[in-house]
């Protein structure tokens, strides 16, 4: 028998059609970029050792990856079965109905509004402030240090955040091509910064090195002969009593900071129509992103612990930074810059990290504006939102709305204590629960889609997607408990914020039924926009 019959090929005729443009590396880069490993590490080292006594960052990473894995598979399986742009809006709408689809997706859009304020604040706080401070320290130029410290103030953070948001809205209004062209270069600087940071820590396995580097670089600016001793004393005065023994409880709670980033490994689900061979690529790209970033975090945690140690990181977290001549606690990138003892390396580390600091924001604005456009096209939002610029094909009104909402959120985040960094992740988890239910029910609610998909696998007669949907629901419910317990997540003891999360979650349902009523008066049944037509 001819060899070709071992794997008979199909005969394809010349015909026009959709060209999917995003390949393997595009999809991986898109997902990894959105998880922003730089920010993940920053929070983990800034807060983990100090405020989660006895927490093991290594075990937290491992457990968190295991908890997110079923969600990654849920997204991968759904994106393979329904390879269309729109993510959960498509999945939940088709499986559970348009009202719940709108509820799930509008919840995410609302949190993208609110979270518009967070990464835009990070630009000044964790990007520019450390960069200028480090340059000031290295060059002995106090003006640069002052500029860095100003960026860390409320006004500095707000002004820079507004500039960033407005700049992004203007760039996106012109078209995404310019942005992606620039971003493809900037992300290389960001990645290089992380690699250099970890390499510097890896090259120094002795805690004495970091103390020496810390003292030699901060002595001048702090006016103290032994800044490290000041840190230890200041931390003790603030109530720090030394490292605790291993605690599973705190290990679980510190996962909130890892989950904050890693749970967004599924961004390519929202550009499904653009992904080449989506049925296979989407299936493995999301778990692959999870493992790649997870391994990167594990290695970094090991290297930083080896070079700096949890104790010094914890002391830094407790100490008053003003005694060091700084307006905020030095970040792990600043520690790496001191340890590098080389101005070029210090520059590259600080400069590259600037591009991690706001990494979530462009995706949030783009995804949010695409969602708003989709609501308008489906008749759920006023038609004003679906106006598209005929030259750039960008939804200008939806983009502007995202910009205005992001600036309002930035003001709330910077000038009030209403909104903690983690507070809305609980809200995202509520959508993840609904998406998990959709995955579990897909084979029963849409048997046709399931049977013709590349994921129509069964174990002992039970669809695999149903099993992973159930596992994901359990894992995400567990993570919801973790967020409710974590005192730094802004929910524990703040019942109003928990209620706010639930209200935001339900708000999409209200929007849907109000739109349905308004459209119904015009003779349009909105529910028909999503309802599947029977074949027989």
């Amino acid at each position: 028998m001819p060899e070709s019959t071992q794997r008979p090929d199909v005969f394809v005729r010349k015909a026009s059609g959709l060209i999917r443009t995003a390949g393997t590396w595009d999809v991986l880069a898109y997902n990894i970029n959105f998880t922003s490993i730089g920010l993940l590490l920053l929070f983990l080292f800034l807060l983990g050792p100090a405020f989660y006594p006895g927490a093991s960052l290594m075990w937290a990473t491992v457990i968190c990856v295991i908890a997110i894995l079923p969600l990654a598979l849920v997204y991968g399986y759904l994106a393979s079965a329904m390879p269309r742009s729109g993510g959960d809006y498509v999945y939940v709408s088709r499986v559970l109905g348009p009202a719940l689809g709108m509820m799930s997706n509008f919840n995410m859009t609302m949190w993208w509004f609110f979270y518009g304020g967070v990464p835009s604040a990070f630009l000044a706080r964790y990007g520019l402030a450390p960069f200028f401070r480090t340059l000031g320290i290295y060059t002995g130029h106090s003006g640069l240090t002052s500029v860095g410290n100003w960026f860390a103030t409320k006004n500095g953070t707000f002004i820079l955040g507004v500039v960033l948001i407005v700049t992004l809205i203007v760039i996106f209004s012109i078209g995404t091509k310019t942005y992606f062209r620039i971003q493809n270069i900037l992300i290389l600087f960001a990645a290089a910064s992380t690699v250099l940071t970890i390499a510097v820590f890896f090259a120094h396995g002795n805690h004495a090195d970091i103390i020496h580097a810390f003292n030699s670089h901060l002595a001048h600016i702090s006016g103290k002969a032994d800044p490290a001793a000041y840190v230890a004393q200041s931390a003790k005065s603030a109530g720090y009593t030394g490292l605790s023994h291993f605690s599973l409880y705190w290990t679980l709670l510190v996962m909130t900071w890892i989950y904050l980033n890693l749970s967004f490994m599924s961004s390519s689900a929202y550009i499904g129509s653009e992904v080449k061979d989506a049925r296979r690529l989407q299936l493995w790209s999301m778990p692959a992103t999870l493992f790649i970033v997870g391994l990167g975090v594990l290695f970094s945690v090991w290297a930083v612990d080896r070079a700096v140690g949890y104790n010094f990181l914890a002391q830094l977290g407790w100490a008053d930074p003003k005694g060091l001549g700084l307006d905020s606690t030095p970040t792990f990138t600043e520690l790496a810059s001191y340890l590098a003892n080389n101005i070029v390396l210090a520059f590259l580390i600080g400069f590259g990290f600037i591009f991690w600091s706001y990494a979530w924001l462009p995706g949030q604005i783009l995804n949010g504006s695409r969602n708003i456009l989709a609501y308008a096209i489906d008749g759920l939002f006023p038609s004003w939102f679906k106006q598209v610029n005929k030259t750039t094909n960008m939804p200008i009104n939806a983009l502007t709305t995202m910009g205005v909402m992001s600036i309002i959120a930035l003001g709330i985040y910077v000038y009030t204590s209403l909104f903690a960094t983690l507070v809305g992740i609980f809200g995202f988890i509520l959508s993840f629960l609904l998406i998990s239910i959709s995955a579990a029910l897909l084979p029963y609610r849409l048997p046709n889609v399931f049977e013709t998909s590349a994921v129509n696998q069964r174990i002992a007669g039970v669809p695999v997607i149903t099993i992973i949907g159930i596992l994901s629901f359990i894992a995400q419910a567990f993570m919801a408990w973790v967020f409710l317990r974590d005192p730094n997540a802004g929910l524990r003891g703040h019942n109003g914020m928990i209620v706010f999360n639930v209200v935001v979650f339900l708000s999409g349902l209200v929007v849907y039924y109000v739109a349905k009523w308004i459209q119904g008066r015009r003779g349009i049944d909105v529910s028909l926009s999503f309802k599947e037509i029977p074949e027989e």
Partner: protein, 332 residues
């Protein structure tokens, strides 16, 4: 203007427009049922009806068959499994044929035989579809208007003319009446040139001539519907990745690592819309550019296509006199 669009007046005619089903059994069956489902008066299928792929099912003898679909090779061990496999292929828009290993080799080395096989299978499926539509729409008062696209060769389209009886109207290259309210539709499936060199693409000049010939007998366009497969250029209904025509298959042109997006629509179509300002203009061709826009007074629509996922993208359009009262894009 109301918040969500224009306020409805008296409804007269409701249309449901879809396009680019590309052989998908699932989407066509949904389309046939869409009339009752959405409560419309007329169904319009806007071209690119035929599928793109033939899946050979190798008969290995001894009750064993082998075939590849979605890059996965399947071993089939009963006639029932072969039937199920063929149904699955049809749902995705593929044609399938049981062949011996020798026939497979012969086809693999003779493109003209593959072409003949494709034409036979496409014609057979289209004939089955038209029969199904006639049967299901009979007595409902709903009419189905079917035209071709640039991917549909003339001989395949003849199957529509041969099988259309009462409810199905083969409207390619014709001006047809849509309702009793004076709305009429002219349909043309030709497209401007594409990088795939498909069966029915012509130069912009020829396309303009075809359109001019069709509109020559029309004096009042206030109730006219243009059903032109190619969308107007730079209309937001024609945005797709720019392709390099010199490679086979065409490859995406990138700039700075990103695909270059552009308007691939037709200048002839745009000029015709701008010149005659019909009430409504229906398009397809660019699957990923779903949307609705206005060109002067004309409401132009491309409902997009997701036939490969079995999703019927469409548009419910309500016409009232010389107004388009509402447009609702659907995913059914």
């Amino acid at each position: 203007m109301a918040l969500f669009g224009k306020k409805a007046k008296t409804q007269t005619t409701k249309l449901f427009f879809v396009t680019d089903v590309h052989g998908s059994e699932t989407t066509f069956r949904k389309f046939v049922n869409a009339g009752k489902f959405y409560g419309v008066n007329a169904l319009i299928l806007g071209g690119d009806i035929a599928g793109k792929m033939v899946v050979p099912i190798l008969d290995l003898g001894g009750g064993h068959w082998r075939a590849t679909i979605q890059a996965i090779t399947h071993e089939l061990n009963s006639q029932e499994e072969v039937t199920e496999f063929a149904k699955r292929a049809a749902k995705l828009g593929y044609y399938s044929e049981v062949v011996s290993p020798e026939e497979y080799e012969d086809l693999a080395h003779n493109p003209e035989r593959v072409d003949a096989l494709y034409h036979r299978l496409a014609t057979e499926r289209l004939a089955t579809w038209i029969d199904l539509a006639e049967e299901r729409l009979s007595g409902t008062g709903i009419r189905m208007f079917v035209t071709g696209g640039n991917d549909d060769s003339t001989d395949v389209l003849e199957a529509i003319v041969r099988h259309a009886r009462d409810s199905v109207v083969a409207c390619e290259d014709k001006v047809v009446q849509l309702d009793d309210d004076g709305h009429f539709m002219l349909s043309l499936g030709l497209s401007n040139p594409t990088p795939w060199h498909t069966p029915r693409e012509v130069s912009e000049e020829e396309l303009a001539q075809h359109i001019e010939q069709m509109v020559s007998g029309v004096s009042d366009f206030t109730r006219a519907v243009f059903n032109l497969h190619a969308p107007p250029i730079d209309s937001t209904l024609d945005t797709c990745a720019k392709l390099d025509w010199t490679t086979d298959p065409p490859s995406v042109v990138t700039s700075g690592g990103t695909p270059v997006m552009y308007g691939a629509g037709s200048t002839a179509v745009r000029q015709a819309i701008e010149k005659y300002q019909p009430l409504l203009s229906l398009h397809g061709h660019i699957h990923e550019s779903r949307g609705e826009t206005k060109i002067g007074r004309t409401v132009a629509i491309n409902p997009g296509s997701e036939y490969g996922e079995g999703v019927l993208r469409g548009a419910i359009i309500t016409l009232s006199g010389d107004n388009v009262e509402s447009v609702q894009l659907t995913s059914g």
